[in-house]
Amino acid sequence: MDIYLPVAEMAVSLNTIIGLGVAVGILSTVFGVGGGFLATPFLVFLGVPASFAVGTQAVQLISTSLSGVIGHWRKGSVDFKLGSVMLAGSLTGTIFGILIFKLLQYTGHIDVVINALYVLLLGTVGGMMLYESFSAILKKKHKAEAARSKFWLRATSGLPYTVMFPKSNLSISALVPIILGVIGGLMVSVLGIGGGFLVVPAMIYILGMPTNLVVGTSMFQILITTSLSALLHIVSNNTVDLLLAFILMVGALIGNQIGSRLSPYVRGATARLMLALILLGVCFMLWENLFIEPVEHFSTEVLDK
């Protein structure tokens, strides 16, 4: 059955959209990632304009990150002070991201840029995760983690504006979390992903945060950022279809239920290996889009009257 999206003004298959939502829900429950990296490219693949895919994802991301934050907050694993400092960066990044998005939309390069950035991000992160999980499975307990943190500790120690973060037991320059925030904000507004899969490792390795606080803090930061991103996408571009967002969220809800039954069986390094393979799979799909000669060299776009 097809459903007509009132704001995107196009028809899509209802079953496919629900299926996509379910997949995203399973991913977020089992692997603790937002799943935007799967939803946004697939929506584009289904013919939804990139602008609508990214804008709508921003809304769906609110519900995912909110339920995550509540859970972590209950366990006391959110560093609100550090999260707020990151927010200073990510809110700025979001506003810049929306401007960049509008500019690329105007020049007609938005689809290709989104595609290329996804290939780059998913390829890098997926590759790193694949390597890491393989080594972990093979029980080669290397000391790379500690060494890397020390490198970043030295690299960031000279920076000004040192701030104490008692919850994380850290004393670092505020510039580092702010810069991380800017990157996170850009990813939310341009790519429609929370960017947890990039920001979380960075918070561990670069900031040296305790691992148990990282996910909750990153989700808190994403929640506020994506709310602003959704607001700006609606007010400045009108590229959010709430019916599409609603269907995706219902699907994700179902996916969460399935995921929570699956997750006891998928743990640790095996889970990371599976996630790495999924990331690389999506990366490959997008890579084809970009590098294989298309059958139709031309594309059309109807401009608003």
Binding site: M1, Y4, L242, A245
Partner: protein
């Protein structure tokens, strides 16, 4: 003196156009064509997946009798807007959008049905004069410089036609008018799901001996309806409210999702 000439020309223009107008209505009392549609509006609701448009009509001679094998053309034309056509080119192994041409006032939908072969109805020239056929669409670039390379311009124009034919917005040709009996005919069109809302024009032409003898026009209103229209209206008119509602909906879903997982004791 100059003004006087101008006034005179205006008067003559009005006079001549009145003549044409009355002339054409007199023609209707001779051979004539009448059309009507099964529905005069198309509701685009959340279940919309395209729509069939049926145009009925009769063609009669001066005595009110049905014409044996009339030359009829029925045309369906959608609202117009500018369309950008982009070309992908390989840059360092990546396929990127390079050149683009913006075409002015392209109808989002254009299709027509005929009662007999094109050449049996009227000469190509006559058909073009009446706006019948894909080659009567004018492909004007927004930027005049784009025509400088006619070969490239033609390439972009052909691409637009090819892609829109594939999407069902432009005709693949050969749509036939069916005769039901007693001079009654019907023309079937299929609007794809991707069409924009707005006023569509339905035009019916009657040709005799290669000459246009009568023409009728009707409007088809394609509008969003029901919940679909409601959401679209709010998204564009009260976007701040729409954003607020969207965020609240997501927050509600997030809390609901959390309460479900809490119940399971996770």
């Amino acid at each position: 003196m100059r003004i006087k000439v101008k006034t005179l020309i205006t008067f003559m223009a009005i006079f001549v156009s009145c003549g044409i107008y009355f002339g054409s209505s007199f023609a209707a009392s001779q051979s004539g064509i009448m059309i009507d549609m099964a529905k005069e509006n198309v509701d685009v609701t959340t279940g919309f997946s395209g729509s069939d448009i049926v145009v009925f009509g009769v063609a009669q001679d001066e005595n009110g009798k049905s014409i044996k094998s009339p030359g009829i053309v029925v045309l369906l034309k959608g609202p117009q807007s500018n369309v950008v056509v982009r070309k992908k080119e390989s840059v360092a192994g990546m396929w990127l959008n390079s050149d683009s041409i913006e075409f002015k006032n392209i109808p989002h939908f254009y299709d027509y049905a005929m009662s007999m072969n094109e050449k049996d109805i009227a000469s190509a020239q006559t058909l073009i004069e009446n706006g019948i056929g894909l080659n009567t669409l004018t492909f004007e670039p927004d930027d005049e410089d784009d025509v400088e390379d006619p070969e490239q311009f033609r390439q972009f124009q052909e691409a637009l036609i090819r892609i829109w034919q594939r999407h069902g917005n432009f005709p693949l040709g050969g749509r036939k008018i069916k005769f039901i009996g007693a001079g009654l005919f019907r023309a079937d069109f299929a609007l794809p799901a991707n069409i924009p809302t707005g006023l569509y024009q339905v035009e019916a032409f009657l040709f005799e001996g290669g000459k246009l003898v009568d023409k009728r026009e009707k409007l088809l209103d394609v509008q969003q309806a029901g919940m679909s229209a409601f959401i679209n209206h709010y998204a564009h008119t009260y976007s701040l409210l729409y954003a607020f509602f969207g965020i609240m909906m997501a927050v509600g879903m997030g809390i609901f999702s959390d309460s479900l997982s809490k119940k399971r004791g996770r």
